[in-house]
Structure formats: C-alpha cells, structure tokens
Symmetry: C2
Subunit: 241 residues, 2 copies
Amino acid sequence: MAKKDQTIQTSPHLQIMVNTPLFKGLSVDVLTAVLNQAQYYNFSSQSFIFHQYDKAENIYVILKGQVCLSQTTSAGKQVIINMFGAGDNMAILSVFDKAIYPLTAEAVTDCLLLGWSSQTMQQLMEQYPRIALNTLKFITSRFVELQDRYRELATKRVEQRIAHALLRLSQKHGQSTSDGIFLKLPNSRQMIAEMTGTTLYTVSRTCRQWEELGLIQSGREQVTILNPVSLSAIAQELPQI
Amino acid sequence: MAKKDQTIQTSPHLQIMVNTPLFKGLSVDVLTAVLNQAQYYNFSSQSFIFHQYDKAENIYVILKGQVCLSQTTSAGKQVIINMFGAGDNMAILSVFDKAIYPLTAEAVTDCLLLGWSSQTMQQLMEQYPRIALNTLKFITSRFVELQDRYRELATKRVEQRIAHALLRLSQKHGQSTSDGIFLKLPNSRQMIAEMTGTTLYTVSRTCRQWEELGLIQSGREQVTILNPVSLSAIAQELPQI
DNA sequence: CGAGCTCTTGAAAACCTTCAAAAACAGTGG
DNA sequence: CCACTGTTTTTGAAGGTTTTCAAGAGCTCG
C-alpha cells in the first residue's frame, strides 16, 4: 500500500513541518537535518497505515489527507479514538523499543506522510533534546484532551456527545462555506456513532431531528453545521437559545 | 494542609524512588542530586493536594498513601480518572510553563509525597535528559492505558465496567488475605460509580448480586474479591465458568 | 442511643439499542 | 438515459439496560 517517494517538492510542506508540535522551535538547519532523515509515504484512501498490535516501527507527520485512528474490541466493535489531519503527529510511541501500535490507522482520504523509523527518531531526540521535550509536551496535551473526552463519555448523554463530536470535527476538518461549516465523512452516521460510543441508528435520528430544527443540513456522507452556537448549547446542555 | 518536612529518613523511600517511572535507570549519584532538590509534603486523609484549574506548580512522587484524581463537570458530577498509590508519579504537566492542573487530587489516606517545583524539574530534565525520556515513556504508557479505558467506557455495559474497575483496584491497591483480595475504599459504592460512569444505585445492585453468587464479599467502605477469575470473565463478557 | 453516613431495594421512567424493513442515493453498464 | 446494484440513511416498534426517585435498613461513632 505504501509507496516511498523521495522526489516530492518540500517547499509547500516545510510550512507544515515548522508548525507541527514535534518540531516547533527548531532552527532551519536542524529542521533540514530532520527532513533529510525522513521518508515520504503515500497511502491511498481506505488503505491502512498500520494495524493495532503490529510492531510500532515508524513515527509520522501527516502532510496531506485525513487519518482515522480506531481500536477494535474483542467483540468486533470499533471505536474511533481520533481523526487526524495535516500537521498532526502520529504514532509517537514508536520511539520506544518493542512498542506495539495500540490502534489502527486508516487513510480516510489519499494521504501523504513523512515518516521516521524508531531508531532514526531516537537518534534525533538524543541529538536534539528539544524534539524530546516537544514530544513530551505534545503527548501531555493529547493526554489531557483524552481525559476530557473520557469524562464526557462518562457523564453526558448521547445527544450531547454527538453535538460535541460534530463541533470538534468541524473545527479540525471542516470547510467554511456560505451556508456553514461543511464536513465530508465517508459513512458518516456509522463514523459519528463510533466516535461517540453509540449506534448509527441513534446518530441518524439525532441528526434528523437537528435538521428539522435547522441546526444542521445533512446528506449522504456529509454534514453541514448551520448553527454551531445552538449545537454547542446542546453539547453543554444549556437551556436552548 | 501541606506541611513541609525536611527531616524524614530517606532510606525506606529510596527504594520507591529507584523504581518510580520517572527516575528509573538513574545512577545513585544522580538520584541523590534529584532527591536533594525535593521537598517532602504531608497531606492528611481527605485533604486536597491540588485543585482542578489551579496553576500547576509541583510535580510529585507518592511515597505513602493513596490519592484520588478526579474531574468535576460543569453540572457538578464527579468522575474519578485514577487512583494512585506509592511509587506513582503525579502532575507531570507541571513541568510546562503556565500549565493548569486538569483535575483535582485528594488524599484518600494520609499521604507522604515528594515534590519538585516546575522550575526545579525543568532544570533536572535539562541536566539529566534521561529523566525527560523516562517521563515521555511514562506519560505515553498512561496515554495508552487511558485509551483502553475510553474504549471500555464506549463499548461495555455497566456490569462489565464495574468488574474491570474492581480488578484494577485490587491489583493496585488490594491486600491479599486468606479469603481473597481485600479493598478498603471510603464511600465505596459512590467511588466505584464515579470510576465507571454509572450511579451508586447500580453499583450497589451489581455488588449485591455478585455477593449472592459468592464472587465478592462486600461491606461498608470495603470489598473483598473472592473469585477474581469469574469477575474477569464478567469483565470480558465470557460465558460464565 | 441517636445522628449521620452508607448501603440496599422497589417501582417507574428515561434513554438507548436492537431488529427489521423500507427509502434514498451514487455509480455502473447496458 | 434508465434500470440495476450495492451502500448509506431513515424510520417504527419492541425490548433491554440504566437512571431516577423515594424510602427504609444497617453501621459507626460520639
């Protein structure tokens, strides 16, 4: 699935590298050194970047495309832990020896990634401690985020969780249009269900209801958020505006 | 609440320091240097070590006692994220400037902690990069753990989650007795409920049922696990043994 | 021995899932 | 262009799980 490709022009991607959490604050020289050690990877839509339980070999930065990170339970249910996009770092734990991917990464769209092997990244971190500290800071913030979502899952009702998930998705992956924020998601009801710990039926009913109220406009594999403010009010269970 | 105390004999605690994730693999010299920068803190049972939203100032190692980490929702519900004990590290994110505690830490029993200020730990990490790498490894493993619990919350029924919570607690905080593994928990039904995202009523019913089946023996503020194997089968929804 | 917790229990209600089936849609090939 | 196919979404009805509310029982400690 993955095709290595060394001939891609780096200039448009440099901007992403400069801003990605792992490499923030590095000098151009260091950044160039880091880039020289990287390999480009292409993954086509719906292909797998890595599988849960595989030996963790690479650490990635996403340059282009959208990646879905999910876990599968022993009973076969899927849970989507996160959706990543351009600029996001992935598979941090690969820097540790004998690490195992704790989840599966699937390309939702065609993706272009930059990757470093375990050993390469270990060396880079030793050579440039700033990278290690950046990584620590990044993973800590991800940890805090996940804690918040854990609490949400433990305390909020399905409707609120769906609202929240839509808002999070729209912030990260949405495109502003004249109507509102447009979201393209393959198999959207199913996906939203797996992000919020519910079923596609409940998501469908909830979205339908919101469509009736004019909060969203939804169709096959896409949702447009027309009224983020009301949606946010639902997410927090505030009295409706 | 906190009383600083510099006169405590370090010998019995040194063993804990050597094995705590943050300081694993450090030479005795380095460990001594690290210890010299630390301060001892005493917290009595039920006192707060820090509050959610406070400025994060200290990073801790627990030497003695049990600490409950919880978040409070805007609606006032509590969610217990973790229970820590001797040897555990706490409030890692304090090493970052302007960090805010994302949760509240309450001493469940009388506690003795070792603490370092933000700046001190930053300096230590710069001076001994091994500490930074240890921290990265530690927080990564905590992250992976939390992901697993997130999935559990999203996919499993209450009964299974309670079983899992009891098993986790017993592993970490239980005492082996002739009958089974004994767990002391103040306000146990309520606490278990807050750990599993359910209500104390449901926990009570579930525990009662397990007691009838002879899997546990439960009383006021305590639970003894008599049959961890069956409990584990319930947690995984296996056919009963 | 009474006050205040903690825990249990029952009944009703709310919430959500499951199952089944139909409708809507996109893409394909004739 | 249209019928056909497979996928995605919607909808209804039934059922299961869990919460909520209310009240009582049991323990502990001053």
